[in-house]
């Protein structure tokens, strides 16, 4: 295949080009010709095809996501908002914290280990590129049915991949989720979150400013990894018999990334870069066009200078390559020598591949011939924007009008059986099989990790300042009512933070949905975004960034709408956090918040194959008052544990098994009390002498308080049901080893 240059493109306007195979629609191809005033070269075609793919351009979601900006609550903690690689918030004492969550769903179905591994690698680089040292990761994961053969293929590989990459980077895994549902069979969800810390003055942005500044590529060499991965995999559903296009999965090397992290941090410490961007989806196409767009627009790149692992790569392939562990920096000429020295120290491959210019175009040459000459904004930011048709699907009215039919445990034996059943349910069971494959200790600052309500890391060893993060989603509620589902997930993540004594500060999100070409899915998406935006405004928590993953479906069946919400909060002194559970007897247990009959969308309903009913309605004003109770109560709460899936039954189970100290509980209407999943409830343990304080605090904030019982003993006793901790533990801890060996 001969080199297709700009000169040739100008003189051969009628050349037939394979735009459809590259994922471009005819109108998009026409638009490219309009922008350039000629047909694109094959390299330009390659760039537009990857950058205008759904995964990179957000063409179907942009019109909805702008609500996060339009409805953004004022927050003086927000230092960098949506639009950059990750959001940045001020946490006090001169520190800025950056965090973001991303998806790597389709590759993880194809190649679980590498899909998950490179998902972690990608999000970590996003954090690094903001100028921060990555300090922790989290992994919300969703799989098909726990006992399905394909889950047995996919889960161990994904867990090994998350652990394999994250452990080797030296990042503690401080939490995550594991959810099983047939909706994810064939479409597992691998969302990865990373958080990093830096001083305010360290913040870096992705812009190529200053004509004459050098464009520097460093990190791994470029090979044929994942060519077309982004445009092919994430922008297309799987056919019933697997992906239609040739699967292209990237392979990661965490050692190279670890070295890249240390090298980059030294470079940042000496203030050697003007702008920086990591190479993720769409590789060099993305980095060059985004950096150029972020500056005044002009950049010249000599593509033949890119160091290659595979010398036979064509220019188009180099532009589309998704080889991992690469970064692109803009460096002033006076600083390049030192930059190169630091790379040499860490043995990191580094090459100057171009420079920032005065012009408005991104010009790329191959051995002196011009093969790309485009206005970079048209590639990186002005991609197609779709206003896809949406329509409330028929199922909504149907399911909302049906009543949930489940047995309500009443007798002592039924109560005991229900508690044991929930304790052993795959969605609620002990997850040590998974979490013991993750290093939670490295860096020596992990204060909370699984199975606590939120992950917490200390960021200053002298002042004990810390941050807490939680990710949450409830696809069952989002299915029944996407608007409420998103709000409820937001409330839950914020409540998880506050339960430990940290004040919520900012939000990230990973929106996992089916095909945007399905009006029903598009409606679910639009409603979820609207719910999240409204919720964030009401709670005063800005969305700092996030990720959209569409096309999670096999054939015509989309996954349940799964918006994963991540909330980050601050705690002034990690030593004063409220632990999740108690080690002493004779403490008093109280339930904050009122329990209603919220069985629709619950784990109990799920276990009984009931997917109908109405989701709870979020009362964010009340949630915010509950958060105040938790933050003030931190000064005297001995322990606090948030209730979510599995309701009070799961909450009590988790609390008594944490340190193997039992409890004696009295409940009116125990059946509903145990299985209902009314949001906005927390179990707290206090010293008897502090009851007056608790009552006053609750009354002041209009939060209901009801006494549950006392701690102590070697059983969980609920009214007449006596469940020995040994039996409860066995039910809770056998599930995963029984399923996965």
């Amino acid at each position: 295949m001969a080199l297709d240059t700009v000169v040739i493109a100008k003189s051969t306007p009628d050349t037939v080009q394979p735009f459809a195979e590259l994922g471009l629609k005819p109108d998009e191809y026409a638009r490219i010709k309009e922008i350039l005033g000629r047909r694109p070269t094959s390299s330009e075609l390659a760039m537009y095809s990857v950058m205008w793919s759904e995964h990179c351009s957000y063409k179907s979601s942009k019109v909805h996501l702008k609500q996060f900006g339009e409805k953004a609550p004022y927050s003086d903690a927000l230092l960098v908002g949506i639009g950059e690689n990750a959001g940045v918030v001020d946490v006090g004492q001169g520190y800025a914290v950056t965090f973001k969550i991303e998806s790597h769903n389709h590759p993880s179905f194809i190649e679980p280990y590498q899909g998950a591994a490179t998902g972690v690698g990608g999000i970590v680089r996003d954090i690094l590129t903001m100028g921060a040292r990555p300090i922790a990761i989290m992994d919300p994961l969703r799989f098909g049915p726990a006992d399905a053969p394909d889950t047995r293929r996919v889960l161990p590989g994904i867990v090994a991949g998350v652990g394999g990459y994250g452990n080797c980077l030296g990042l503690p895994n401080i939490g995550g989720e594991i959810t099983f549902d047939e909706t994810y069979a064939g479409n597992p969800l691998v969302n990865a979150l990373c958080v990093g810390v830096m001083k305010h003055s360290d913040i870096k942005l992705a812009k190529a400013a200053g004509a004459g500044n050098l464009v520097v590529l460093f990190g791994a060499k470029t090979g044929g990894d994942g060519i077309g991965g982004v445009s092919v995999l994430a922008s297309e559903t799987f056919g019933a018999s697997g992906p239609a296009k040739r699967p292209s999965v990237q392979v990661g090397d965490p050692f190279v990334e670890k070295v890249l992290i240390e090298c980059s941090l030294e470079i940042f410490a000496e203030d050697l870069v003007v702008g920086i961007q990591d190479l993720g989806g769409a590789g060099l196409s993305c980095a060059t066009s985004e950096l150029a767009s972020g500056g005044s627009g002009g950049m010249k790149v000599q593509l033949d200078k890119v160091p290659l692992r595979d010398p036979s790569l064509s220019p188009e392939e180099i532009l589309m390559s998704e080889s991992q562990e690469r970064m692109c920096a803009i460096v002033e000429p006076s600083k390049i020598a030192r930059f190169l020295e630091i790379c040499a120290k860490w043995d990191v491959t580094v090459t100057v591949i171009g420079e920032v210019t005065d012009g408005k175009h991104l010009e790329i040459t191959w051995n002196g011939e011009l093969i790309v000459d485009v206005p970079p904004r048209t590639v990186a930011h002005d991609g197609p924007v779709y206003n896809r048709p949406m329509a409330q699907p028929a199922y909504i009215d149907q399911v909302n009008n049906q009543k949930v039919i489940v047995p309500i445990p009443t007798t002592a034996a039924e109560i005991k059986a229900a508690v044991l059943k929930l304790a052993g349910a795959p969605n609620l069971a002990d997850k040590s099989w998974v979490t013991s494959q993750y290093d939670k200790y490295v860096q020596g600052n992990t204060i909370q990790s699984q199975p606590d309500d939120s992950g917490m890391v200390r960021i200053d060893e002298k002042t004990q300042l810390g941050v807490a993060i939680s990710t949450d989603a409830n696809a069952n509620w989002s299915y029944l009512n996407p608007y409420q589902g998103a709000k409820l997930a937001l409330a839950e993540a914020a409540r998880n933070i506050a339960t430990a004594g940290a004040r919520p500060l900012a939000v990230t999100n990973c929106l996992n949905f089916g095909s945007p070409e399905d009006p029903g899915v598009m409606w679910q998406f639009a409603e979820s975004v609207r719910g999240l935006a409204d919720g964030c405004l009401e709670m005063g928590l800005p969305v700092t960034g996030g990720n959209v993953s569409f096309y999670n479906q096999t054939g015509s069946v989309a996954i349940l709408p799964t918006p994963v919400i991540g909330v980050l909060g601050v705690i002034q002194d990690v030593r004063k956090r409220t632990p999740m559970s108690f080690t002493e007897s004779d403490l008093e247990l109280y339930l904050l918040g009122e329990t209603g009959e919220d069985v629709a969308g619950s784990e109990w309903a799920f276990l009984h194959n009931q997917r109908v009913g109405q989701s709870p309605v979020a009362d964010l004003a009340r949630e915010m008052r509950l958060i105040e109770v938790l933050l003030v109560g931190n000064s005297f709460f001995v322990a606090a544990h948030d209730l979510s899936q599995g309701g009070l039954s799961a909450g009590l189970t988790e609390m008594v098994l944490r340190h193997k100290v039992g409890a004696t509980i009295s409940l009116d209407n125990p059946g509903i009390a145990l299985i209902s999943e009314t949001p906005g409830r927390v179990i707290v343990a206090i010293n008897k002498s502090d009851y007056a304080k608790l009552e006053a605090l609750a009354v002041k904030n209009e939060i209901k308080v009801s006494r549950l019982g006392t701690t102590g003993g070697d059983s969980l006793i609920i009214n007449e049901s006596i469940i020995p901790l040994s039996e409860l533990s066995k039910a809770h801890t056998s599930t995963f080893s029984d399923l996965f060996g």
Partner: protein, 222 residues
Amino acid sequence: MRIGVITFPGTLDDRDAARAVVAGGAQAISLWHADADLKKVDAVILPGGFSYGDYLRCGAISRFAPVMELVIEAANNGMPVLGICNGFQVLAESHLLPGALTRNSDLHFLCCDQELEIVNNKTAWTNSYSVGEKIVIPLKNGEGSYQCDDQTLAMLEGEGRVIARYVGENPNGSRNLIAGITNAKGNVVGLMPHPEHAIDELTGPTAQGLGFFTSILNAMVK
């Protein structure tokens, strides 16, 4: 007292080891793998991590680092050296300690709070403990299975060169539940679990790992 902490490319727990050194009462000196310079330290720690990505074999490439030549020489002259996890692997590949660390028998990376029994408190790194003392410190690795031939095993046991054993179920398939060993002189110690992550109860399961970092001060005083 100056204790060197070596950083290889891919080392992860160097800052944590340095923190533990300071908590134990000594000064932590950072040593770079490529510099043949021990900076006049009194002892050396090879920390945990994935040096060189565990390429080829864990510790196989690190052992040829310029700094390691000096470490081997110093160790042979009696300088105390502690290898933790990946550090233990480097010491084994360097033949400063016998045997080898191989893949965990169940093939999974394992991070857990592991109970150990200290069985030899005559080394430079374990004299703060009493024989038979049980401690709980984090174990976190994928290649922690201690293997050696029968002859070596007989020698280690016969000469009392096992310093710590796993208590309870064998977490990784190590022969004779060996969690750590020492050389004949008692100055070079290799340990798979991580004492540097058990120096306070805020961030670790216990503070029982601190003893390794106070022992070395006792050893130098003598």
